[in-house]
Amino acid sequence: MFATLLQATGAGDKLVTPEVPWSHLAPQLILVVGATVGVIAAAALRGRLRRSVGAVGAAVVAGAAIVSIIPLWHRVSNPAQGPISAVNGAIGVDRFSLFVTALLCAAVILASFTAEAYLQREGLDGPEFSLLLLLAAAGGSVMAGANDLIVMFIGIEVLSLAVYVLAAMHARRISSQESGLKYFLLGGFASAFLLYGIALTYGATGTTSLLRVQSFLAERVLTDDGLLLGGLALMLVGFAFKVGAVPFHMWTPDVYQGAPSPVTGFMAAAVKTAAFAGMLRVFVVGFASYADLWRPVVGALAIASLVVGAVMSVVQTNVKRMLAYSSIAHAGFVLLGVDAASAEGTAASLFYLAAYTAMALGTFAVVTVVGGSGDGAHTLDAYRGLGRRRPGLALAMSLFLLAQAGTPVTIGFLAKLGVIRAAIDADQWALAIVAMLTAVISTFMYLRIVVAMYFAESESESDDRGELRIPWGVGVTIGVAVIATLVLGVVPGPLEHLSDDALPVLVAVDGR
């Protein structure tokens, strides 16, 4: 984008700035402006606001962003108008980016409600938490729409920087800070790889615009171009790190365990969603003509993630670590859809991400409650006898876990079905079989938690852990997640139609 921009002004008369169609970027703008205003307000009114204002405010902003998506969706769905590529082709506004943005906003709403209860219990300061969630969603939304690799990089960084801080948010817990620092160092390392990959791609194709990369590659296939291949490889590494695919997964369990539980849920749901959105856009669309080259790597990542995620989750005793490894296995499932490199695979991946968002946020909301004051009770022992102490909570947790295991009539089943179907239609039989086998291994781990909740009794008769309180915020999150998991499991039609429509496209249309 910049090349044409600046070359056009090469004569040096006056700088032509691209016209920004503000209304088309409404969701991102609402998120960013909302977060900025929120930060200022929080600083100005420090101590004079009730703690829950942050959560409600973030929910309102994210809700407004979702509302602003609706007219845009209708506009880009209209065949007469179609998708837009705003800001001189840097940010695409298509149903794919809108779908992902809506998903991220929903994740923000649920996570901020959970966080509200968490902050209350831990006695932490409020509003920054929710505002960082908004910033992260804005970054993720930019990633989903990025039609330029540099815009993609900026989106990743906005998202990541917000999440680094969120992970280290609990100032009194060493493990939270340790988790934030680890995530930051490794994330920065991975970002550098990604950026270097972008630089090599730029060197090979002369552009960072995905649209022009695509048309450049369509014209000539440079299989022997070391620069391009290096760029492709390093970008793949960067994205694989963000989605937590094996062997770039080692940060996941440590960071998931140490981060505040609501943040962990957000990381599992939103960060993964945004990273996969970027991956789908860059690889499935931008580098479509090189699919034969990168597909085996993605397939290998998928198999490694499925196997390691499932096997390692089984031997854990800390529930948060179990769920971290299970999130690695889930990433393996989504990679199945990426590997298919087809419209069907993309739709299946999006459906899976939507399903996992609901399941993960619900699961970690329960984890937040069970973690108790100090957010430390995450061993399997903490779940023993939960079925007797808090039957409702245990039932919800069982539902989320069984859904993650892929039990029919839950959304998790349909999600797994979708990606496996996509893999088979792409003739990836080995992948499909590995996915099904590892699903069985993972099931063992989920059932371990369920069994602990219902069948195992806590050793001490008197419950010294005291009564678990379920604050209203967490209740809202769990309730919504339960409804989503069950209702969409029985009537998946609407969501399926949305995800089927939400395919990423690269267009040059400016759409003013």
Partner: protein
């Protein structure tokens, strides 16, 4: 009536919802009556649908009711639909019929329990799940019911879960069934890929047109059989059923004798079009079935817990059912399933009545002469005993005989094993009856168990003998047993009557008396037994003689005391328990170790390799520091190694 098929599962579901909402307020006994009414109402609807089906021609006896499309889009379609045909309605008849009797019985049995309403909540949910399993028109819906009945079973096994033994029994059932579920899921997937649908009607169509390759059909059949071995407690997954007796006795009767454990058989019969093409899978099913029948029958001889005997007996009878399925004798399988539901439910409920009368003592060595105190229980129990022992004209004789005839036509060794099992069955059931209802009143002897001659048997089941109901045992020498209230004896009498006449469903005399066979023909097709007149009579005679020998032997040992019990209650008969102990050892040892080893491999080898690369990188100066590699850098090294690997892959692709 045909439009009302949906009411069949809807009524128990409504009962379940009502009990969840207001069960506690209704309390004891009204919650029980509500649950019984829900199941009873469902039974009446089934009767209506049944009458409707009977009124139709053989070809039109199938009501397919699609409620709504569940998974609409794409190549994978599944509907929420119900399929009422002769097979599913037969199942529904005895599920709701026997189910409502057991509900009624439970009102008396559970009286005074603090979780009375909760118990009936689970029971109604169970009936609903079981009906979904049976009525579902596709594999997914059946799987839903399959999981549902499983879940209810675990909840009910560990219903009194203050007792750790009960909780662990529930866990065992849970884990064992997961193995089977795996088979179900993979098999469903195979069906979908080969047929393109998971609806039973489509599957049957495809199979009739030979669209399923023999290899695929065999694989599907074997996998579904794996599922069935879990749910229906066959070798080698039968270990959970005896432990499941930790649950309340009505649960044992309903779930672990009459209905749920037969769902594996139902599944295979439902999929008989696939089995027809499945080649050796049928032999596998038959052999596993007959082996299970024999092993479980031998174990039953050594048990002293009244419910444990019945539990192993159930495993053994289920083995018969699989023998029938494997020999293609589907009518006999359903026939024996129905009669077994009658007499085994009767026996379990009778044992519950005995247990209640004997202050929750379950050890048969402390019973004796109870016919004097509990005449109705004793009378009905004896009917059940004669039925299971295969004494004509009781129902068990007719149905068991058909299975044996099928085995005769198939393979003579199977027949021999089946006959030995029949002898053992008669023996251990007689032993139970004689020890319980006849002989001296042993609980009046102070040290009955210690002086008894069954001490060696303790060695086998000491670990499993904790399946007593969770009530304190107060069986004192001056205890006077008393008959149970009418809500408990009425079901006994009804079931007793059914156990006598149940054989009339399918009498082998002439073609017109084979009612069940013609009724099921639209679903399972025509099956010629290949055994005629004289042979059939001879087989029946042999079976009867063996049954009588078994009874006579038991009489000699336990009634007349001519032979010391220790000569027959051989420790070797406990061989089936070795499997159980083997699992415990495996899961505690090698199984756990396997997962640990994989995890160690990941930690040691992968991390080790990573460290190795790190050394190469850091040869410039970090050699000394490598022993202190921390986690952050470790992860970074992993990342870098992965990046190098991906790069190398591309380079390799580029240069070739």
């Amino acid at each position: 009536m045909s439009a009302l098929v949906w009411l069949i599962p809807a009524l128990p579901l409504a009962g379940f919802v009502a009990l969840v909402v207001g069960g506690r307020r209704l309390g004891d006994p009204w919650a029980g009556w509500l649950a019984t009414a829900a199941v009873g109402g469902s039974f009446l609807v089934v009767l209506g649908v049944f009458a409707d089906l009977v009124g139709r021609g053989a070809e039109a006896r199938s009501i397919h009711q699609e409620l709504f499309t569940w998974i609409p889009a794409g190549s994978f379609q599944a509907s929420m639909g119900l399929l009422a045909d002769p097979l599913s309605i037969t199942m529904c008849l005895f599920v709701t019929g026997v189910g409502s009797l057991i509900h009624l019985y439970a009102i008396g049995y559970m009286h005074g329990d603090e979780k009375f309403s909760k118990f009936f909540t689970y029971l109604n949910l169970f009936i609903f799940s079981m009906l979904m399993l049976v009525l579902g028109d596709n594999l997914l819906l059946t799987f839903l019911g399959w999981e549902g009945v499983g879940a209810c079973s675990y909840f009910l096994i560990s219903f009194w879960h203050t007792d750790p033994a009960n909780a662990s029994a529930g866990k065992k059932a849970f884990v064992t069934n997961r193995v089977g579920d795996w088979g179900f899921m993979v098999a469903t997937f195979l069906v979908w890929t080969s047929v393109g649908s998971i609806g039973y009607l489509d599957i049957a169509n495809a199979a009739h047109h030979g669209e399923i390759a023999a290899v695929t059909a065999t694989a599907i059949a074997v996998l579904f059989f794996v599922a069935a071995t879990g749910k229906s407690a066959q070798l080698p997954l039968f270990v959970w059923l005896p432990d499941a007796m930790a649950g309340p006795t009505p649960v044992s009767a309903l779930i672990h004798a009459a209905t749920m454990v037969t769902s594996g058989v139902y599944l295979l019969v439902r999929l008989n079009p696939i089995l027809h093409a499945a080649g050796w899978a049928n032999d596998l099913i038959a052999w596993v079935g007959v082996a299970t029948a024999l092993v479980a029958a031998t174990v039953a001889v050594t048990q002293n817990d009244i419910k444990k005997v019945l539990a192993y007996s159930t495993v053994s009878q289920l083995g018969y059912l699989f023998l029938a399925v494997g020999t293609g004798n589907y009518v006999a399988a359903i026939f024996h399933m129905v009669t077994h539901a009658f007499f085994k439910a009767l026996l379990f409920l009778g044992s519950g009545s005995v247990i209640l009368g004997m202050a929750h003592e379950q050890d048969m060595r402390r019973y004796g002469n109870l016919r004097k105190y509990m005449p109705i229980t004793a009378g009905t129990f004896i009917i059940g005993w004669l039925a299971i022992a295969g004494v004509p004209p009781f129902s068990g004789f007719w149905s068991k005989d058909e299975i044996l005839a099928g085995a005769y036509a198939h393979n003579k060794v199977m027949l021999a094993l089946g006959l030995i099992t029949a002898l053992l069955t008669a023996f251990y059931m007689s032993r139970q009856v004689f020890m319980t209802f006849f002989g001296p009143e042993r609980w009046r002897e102070a040290d009955a168990v210690a002086t008894g001659d069954g001490d060696h048997a303790d060695a086998h089941d000491s670990a499993h003998d904790s399946a007593h109901d969770d009530h304190a045992h107060h069986l004192t020498p001056d205890h006077t047993p008393s008959e149970s209230p009418w809500v408990m004896t009425l079901p006994l009498v009804v079931l007793g009557a059914l156990a006598i006449v149940g054989g009339a469903l399918n009498l082998p005399f002439t073609d017109s008396t084979k009612v069940l066979e013609h009724w099921l023909e639209p679903v399972v097709g025509v099956h010629e037994l290949g055994v005629e007149g004289a042979t059939l009579v001879a087989l029946a005679a042999i079976a009867v003689v063996l049954g009588l020998v078994g009874i006579g032997l038991a009489g000699a040992v336990y009634l007349a005391r001519r032979i010391p019990a220790s000569t027959v209650e051989r420790p070797e008969f406990g061989w089936g328990l070795w499997i159980d102990r083997g699992y415990a050892a495996f899961m505690g040892g090698p199984g756990r170790a396997l997962f640990d080893a994989i995890s160690r491999f990941d930690k040691a080898v992968i991390d080790g390799a990573v460290d190795g690369v790190a050394n190469a990188v850091g040869a410039a100066g970090a050699v000394l520091r490598r022993t202190q590699t921390g986690r952050v850098r470790n992860s970074a090294i992993g990342l870098a190694t992965g990046a190098v690997a991906v790069l190398v892959y591309f380079v390799v692709r580029m240069s070739f």
